[in-house]
Amino acid sequence: MNTKIIEQELRPLMTQERQTMALQVERNGVMKKVAAVIAETGELFDLEIGPGTTCRDVLARMGKEGTHIVSVGKGADTLSSDDNVYQAVQDGGKLYIATPVEVGGD
């Protein structure tokens, strides 16, 4: 009985609520506008990223997946492909797209 109530009444309500929340997020301007710079050339791309955007998403959107990495630059660690870019960069900030370099090894 309880399961039936959840399936029939609550689930559609939750979906609607989530949709409303998504709309609110969009209206409140939670999206961040960032500039992605190709570190090698300085070429600029304007990106608009939402919460939870990963480096993989950014690189895939720019067609650089597998060949480049994302960094905030200025001494910050390079971000791995699963890292949350949204948290790493401020609204209006810059992301650097560079070729991977690993110091060390043989």
Binding site: A39, G75, V101
Partner: protein, 182 residues
């Protein structure tokens, strides 16, 4: 007595000849104008579009190029280390950093300090696992290593200080009672 009534009866005055009552208009006394609070007026002008510089990262960080060599500082927090990069005709890049006490102090305990090799004229060669394809990528990586070393060094100092503090003898009422009972 020529009252006003008698005068009117004897000498009736034509309506046209009647003089309209004079309304005197005197200038008002000077009234000091109270200054109104000034309104904020936005002086609009044409928007000044500032073009974003589309320059490579190495240039943004204050490096300059002379032929196939690049010179500039590695800047991390409040530290700055002289740096150099050379680009071979094949496109491979080698990164160098000026050796010095400040660098040794922060890098000495870092696991990648062994990847910095001594070269002539006081430069240290930064050995990379693979080819460095461009100066900007090398610069980003070396800056990240230096920043990491700086943070580690700072935290270790802080931990050492905290440890030293914890080792100091503690006297409290509880410990005093404990000693008596013990």
């Amino acid at each position: 007595m020529n009252s006003e009534k008698e005068l009117r009866e004897r000498c009736p005055v034509d309506n046209a000849a009647r003089v309209a009552p004079v309304i005197k208009i005197t200038p008002r006394a000077n009234v000091w104008q109270i200054a109104q609070p000034t309104k904020l007026i936005r002086v609009t002008s044409l928007p000044l579009n500032v073009e974003r510089a589309q320059i490579p990262y190495w240039q943004e960080r204050g490096w300059s190029r002379r032929g196939n060599e690049f010179f500039g500082p590695y800047r991390v927090h409040n530290l700055s280390f002289a740096g150099k990069a050379t680009e071979s005709p094949s496109g491979d890049v080698e990164m160098f950093i000026r050796d010095g006490n400040a660098l040794a102090n922060i890098m000495a305990k870092h696991h990648k300090w062994s990847c910095f090799f001594m070269r002539p004229e006081g430069w240290l060669f930064v050995h990379a696992f693979d080819h460095i394809r461009d100066v900007s990528a090398g610069l980003i990586e070396v800056e990240a290593i230096l920043a990491e070393a700086y943070e580690t060094n700072k935290n270790q100092k802080h931990t050492a200080q905290t440890y030293h503090y914890d080792r100091s003898p503690k006297f409290s009422f509880a410990s005093f009672i404990w000693r008596i009972l013990g």
